[in-house]
């Protein structure tokens, strides 16, 4: 069977004077659950709407299954879309909402009936078919939205933040529902969200967008474990990765003196041999920090918060505030009182888990640190 990949080549979209997308390339193999993740204004929805044909791009092309669809009408592209606010036709019953597309293609009535009831059964919405959208709850409305997309059996499903209008509990249920949905249809899903948890939970493959440019592409694990840029590092993970700006000064290779910004005392760093630029940003996940009286990092405690099984502690290192998530040990609980005294504590970070980024460009340099000590 011929596969139906989605290819985006050099896609540029401009709204007035602002560039929404700048020469974007992306390739999505058939059957993948691809998540496009980014903050608002990053261009993620623009990609989706360009694929759907709701926007005409300024340059570039979109290929679906080896066919240039850039200028085809939305309904001719063999794609279906699920909207954030469901976009159900308010004057039609759920059945007619689902059936409208088939009617427009002049399918025989009994075939329409068969298809709609079949899809409704798969998505457990058979009892809702006679209701109008205003008689549906958010979750039910979104299921009808999914059914409306599914009934056409499109090559590609486009989903524009379909869960963001739902409350937290329902969102969890719908996440499972969407995974099940992907297993049933086994078609390409391109899913746009600003919620990293949704992205991690659903995506086979994530694309992180910022200001109209692709920041990183990879599996959820890759994106989390090896963020390619400072932006990705800060965007994914909660609380976000700590970024400590620092200067390096070569001692005898591969040893460097490392001075975090605003910190009087430097540290001695041994790298794996890769040369380090004079300005770097050190990325440290809150969960990779541990208390260690002999540790090389020192700073006053500024804020603590009990999160239940864990304790969130904010230290100050130089001019930077560092957030740590500590397991609830007695030493860590001691810090809850240390806050008022601004007590200075020491902590350590496994050197191999420190991400190093180029200071100005924010490009990742990997995890080149072998050891880190007080001088």
């Amino acid at each position: 069977m011929r596969t139906i990949p989605v290819e985006i080549r050099g896609l540029t979209v401009r709204f007035g004077h602002t560039l929404a997308l700048q020469g974007l390339d992306m390739s999505i193999p058939e059957g993948e659950f691809r998540v496009i993740l980014g903050p608002s204004g990053s261009g993620k929805t623009t990609i989706l709407r360009s694929i759907a044909g709701l926007i005409e791009p300024e340059a570039g092309s979109i290929w679906i299954g080896g066919r240039d669809v850039t200028l085809l009408y939305p309904s001719e592209r063999n794609v279906a879309m699920v909207f954030q606010n469901y976009a159900l036709y308010p004057h039609m019953t759920a059945f007619n909402n689902i059936a409208l597309n088939l009617r427009m293609r002049h399918l025989p009535r009994d075939e329409i009936d068969r298809k709609v009831t079949g899809v409704a059964e798969l998505l457990h919405i058979s009892p809702l078919l006679d209701r109008t959208p205003r008689e549906l709850s958010g979750g039910e409305a979104q299921r009808v939205g999914l059914a409306r997309a599914m009934v056409r059996d499109p090559a590609v499903y486009l989903m524009d933040e379909p869960l963001s209008n739902l409350d937290a509990k329902l969102r969890g249920e719908m996440k499972d529902e969407l995974r099940r949905f992907h297993r049933i249809v086994q078609k390409t899903i391109i899913y746009v969200t600003h919620d990293q948890n949704e992205a991690m939970a659903l995506g086979d493959h994530i694309v992180v967008m910022d200001r109209g440019r692709k920041q990183q592409e990879g599996t959820p694990k890759e994106v989390y474990d090896r963020p390619g840029t400072v932006f990705v590092a800060k965007f994914i993970g909660s609380p976000p990765m700590n970024m400590i700006p620092a200067r390096t000064e070569a001692l005898d290779r591969p040893r460097y003196r490392l001075s975090p910004e605003g910190s009087p005392a430097g540290l001695v760093l041994t790298s794996n041999g890769d040369p380090l630029p004079p300005e770097v940003q050190l990325g440290i996940r809150p969960s990779s920090i541990r208390l260690d009286p002999t540790g090389p990092w020192k700073g006053p405690v500024e804020y603590t918060e009990l999160l239940g099984p864990q304790i969130e502690v904010h230290f100050r290192v130089g001019t930077t505030r560092v957030v740590a998530i500590l397991p609830r040990t007695s030493a860590a609980e001691g810090l809850l009182e240390a806050e008022a005294r601004k007590e200075v504590v020491s902590f350590a970070v496994e050197p191999a888990s420190i991400h190093v980024f180029e200071g100005r460009t924010g490009e990742a340099l990997g995890n080149p640190i072998l050891s880190l000590q007080s001088p």
Binding site: R9, W63, G66, D68, V69, L71, L72
Partner: protein
């Protein structure tokens, strides 16, 4: 990865699609311009004819601004119309202005007070009273005006400014526009003022009314233009020419010369009547349209 060869079919479609799209745009614009021309035509001719010296219509109708339309004719016609009789028309103009302004001030003032009370203040019987206002929107004018005429007669208000103004102040529409708008202003703004110790009266004048400027603008313009153009009530209540408003005077003007209409003067009279509303409309089109759109909003 190499590009798949471009599909010629798609390219041909692309061109056709673009052409069709452009064609539709062009047709749309042409139709819009034609319609605008059609709607401008009567007014254009009104201006032309008001500046001619011929009382007759020509056939076929002449739209050439250079044949016979001149500034001096325009001024002459204006003077003739303005000074007609013992200044009936000038009197009608100032009557219209006075009546429309008075009705606007009173109607928008009372309407905004009531609209605010219905939207924000709580008092027993509020909803009943609101239903009462709602119901009056459905009462057609014919069933009111005969009794009101006799009422005016009893009050001695026939041929008087009170008689022209007071019955026209009742406007359920202004109450609605105001209520609807006040409902959209976040209540927290007023709650904050309440905590600052402002009385309801002060909250209205200092906080809410200034926030409702667009609703005031829409009400003011709708009421002014509506009153300026109103015909039947002034026709009934003022039989004495010194209390005529412009529409009544204009209707009289049409018949003043027996069967022969003096077109230049007639059009000048129409122009004098229409220009003020056109000027207001030109400056406040947005609010005028907002006021009218109010009906299509679900309530």
């Amino acid at each position: 990865m190499t590009d798949p060869p471009p599909a010629p079919l798609v390219h041909r479609r692309r061109i056709l699609w673009r052409l069709a799209h452009a064609w539709r745009q062009v047709v749309g614009v042409v139709v819009m311009l034609l319609l605008a021309g059609l709607y401008v035509l009567p007014f254009y001719w009104m201006f032309l004819k008001a500046g001619r010296d011929s009382i007759f219509l020509g056939y076929p109708p002449d739209f050439n601004p250079f044949s016979g339309t001149s500034w001096s004719n325009f001024v002459n016609n204006f003077n003739t119309v303005w000074g007609y009789g013992s200044g009936i028309f000038a009197q009608a103009f100032s009557n219209s202005l006075f009546v429309a302004l008075s009705v606007t001030v009173l109607s928008v003032g009372f309407g905004s007070l009531a609209g605010y009370a219905f939207a924000r203040l709580r008092f027993p019987g509020r909803d009943l009273l609101f239903y009462l206002v709602l119901a009056t929107l459905m009462i057609p004018f014919p069933v009111i005006f005969i009794s009101n005429y006799f009422f005016m007669y009893q009050l001695g208000w026939l041929n008087s400014y009170q008689g022209l103004i007071v019955p026209q102040v009742v406007s359920a529409l202004n109450v609605f526009i105001m209520r609807q708008y006040f409902l959209t202003i976040p209540a927290d703004v007023e709650n904050a003022a309440k905590l600052d110790g402002l009385r309801p009266w002060n909250i209205f004048f200092r906080i809410s009314a200034p926030l409702a400027k667009p609703a005031f603008a829409a009400s003011i313009i709708l009421t002014f233009i509506g009153t300026w153009n109103n015909f039947l009530w002034p026709l009934v209540v003022s039989t004495n020419p010194s209390f005529w408003t412009l529409p009544v005077a204009l209707d009289f003007f049409k018949g003043v010369n027996g069967t022969q209409i003096y077109w230049d003067q007639m059009m000048m009279a129409t122009l004098i009547m229409v220009v003020p509303t056109l000027v207001i409309y030109a400056f406040a089109e947005r609010y005028f349209i907002q006021g009218i759109s109010f009906f299509s909003v679900k309530r």
